[in-house]
């Protein structure tokens, strides 16, 4: 790693004002630190969000589940509130990376990074979540812009994510056997305003599959989506899987997600 300065503020406002032009916020560090170690990234200063208590925790109120940005994956996976409100979200968190990564990695860090193969973006978009920052609230669909790009401004940090509780939801992913990142992951949610299907891992950034949404809207069954094809042009193609293979996996994972939703 190149050298850098380090600050560990105890409040959100203090953190935002500590951040300079070539600085970065440090959440769980499970992506940022390896990136710095490989010298793929360089910062003047890391502003560590680890000591900010108000960014941690899970709350359920009425029709909404709220998760603080610095809540770790293991906390989400084991939360009784998550299991009762959106079990698919708990299961998703339980299958991110490995046990050690889940003990450090956070929901805020994951979504702010917007890795194209991360799990959480699919859940946020399918559930119609809202991302709250120190400045504003952004709908999940507007938040995830493109490959590793979000709507966050330079000195803006995610404070929490709120999820409307769906009627039912399911997530299925085909994990890369080495990294556990999603080669393709599909999150399906049946909500009061209709069915939403979000796909991660397949394209440069998470996207909705509207043909599947329409099909599930009239018949919420695995058979309804298993035959629906996704255009492979524009999908990712790399050493792990071709675009055509990813396209095929979307149909398979979508059907499994519907089955998981029950």
């Amino acid at each position: 790693m190149y050298s850098f300065d380090y600050e560990r503020p105890s409040g959100v406002n203090e953190a935002a004002s500590a951040l300079g032009e070539d600085d970065k916020f440090l959440a769980g560090g499970q992506t940022l630190l390896p990136t710095l170690k490989l010298r793929l990234s360089q910062v003047d200063k890391l502003v560590d969000l680890g000591a900010i208590g108000e960014l941690k925790g899970i709350a359920k109120s009425g029709s909404e589940l709220t998760i603080g940005a610095m809540t770790t994956h293991v906390t989400v996976a084991n939360s009784g509130d998550v299991k009762s409100a959106i079990p698919a979200l708990g299961s998703l968190a339980a299958h991110i990376g490995d046990a050690q990564v889940r003990n450090r990695g956070t929901i805020g860090g994951s979504i702010a990074n917007n890795d194209p193969a991360a799990d959480y973006p699919a859940a946020l978009v399918a559930l119609g979540a809202t991302v709250h920052t120190n400045k504003r609230s952004i709908s999940a669909e507007d938040f995830f812009v493109d490959l590793f790009e979000t709507a966050l401004e330079d000195d803006e940090l995610v404070t929490k994510v709120s999820f409307p509780i769906p009627e039912k939801a399911g997530y299925a992913k085909f994990p890369n056997p080495a990294s556990r990142f999603a080669l393709v992951g599909v999150f399906v949610a049946k909500t009061a305003s209709g069915v939403r299907v979000a796909v991660t891992g397949a394209g440069p950034s998470v996207f909705r599959q509207s043909d599947m949404e329409a099909a599930l809207g009239s018949n919420f069954a695995a058979d309804a989506v298993s035959g629906i094809k996704t255009d492979a042009s524009g999908l990712n193609s790399d050493i792990h899987a071709s675009a055509d293979y990813r396209s095929h996996l979307i149909s398979v994972m979508a059907a499994r997600a519907v089955t998981a939703a029950g």
Binding site: P34, G50, D98
Partner: protein, 155 residues
Amino acid sequence: MTTVSMTVNGKKVSADVAPNTLLVQFIRENLRLTGTHVGCDTSQCGACTVHVNGDSVKSCTMLALQAEGAEVKTIEGLAANGELHPMQAAFKENHGLQCGFCTPGMIMSAVDLVKRNPNPSEETIRTELEGNICRCTGYHNIVKSVKSAAENMGG
């Protein structure tokens, strides 16, 4: 340089470190506790696993400064009063290691695993140890060791 203070294996320690010092560097180079190994240095192999406030973490993917005020436990802190920890004893008994390089991380992960799953099935053990790579054993005796330790630990 920034001063960092934490408790490692029950002992309060403090040192001036550069902010880009990793927790594993601090443990091995400042404290000379070389039981914690660096295998891949890319957060994949788990040889550097230690406990921070009771949870297993990869100490190559955490800054020493992030452990400010934390309780850290390394493989050297597991045995008590000259007696091996039940997990260590089970690895010895069941031949859960060959070259031994991955073993400290494997044991630290396994202790955390049993804490979270007091009576783990073989499948749970294999899934929970996904973050630890062993190139010798084929994992069979590692899984056997963890199962036996969990039983001895009163699971």
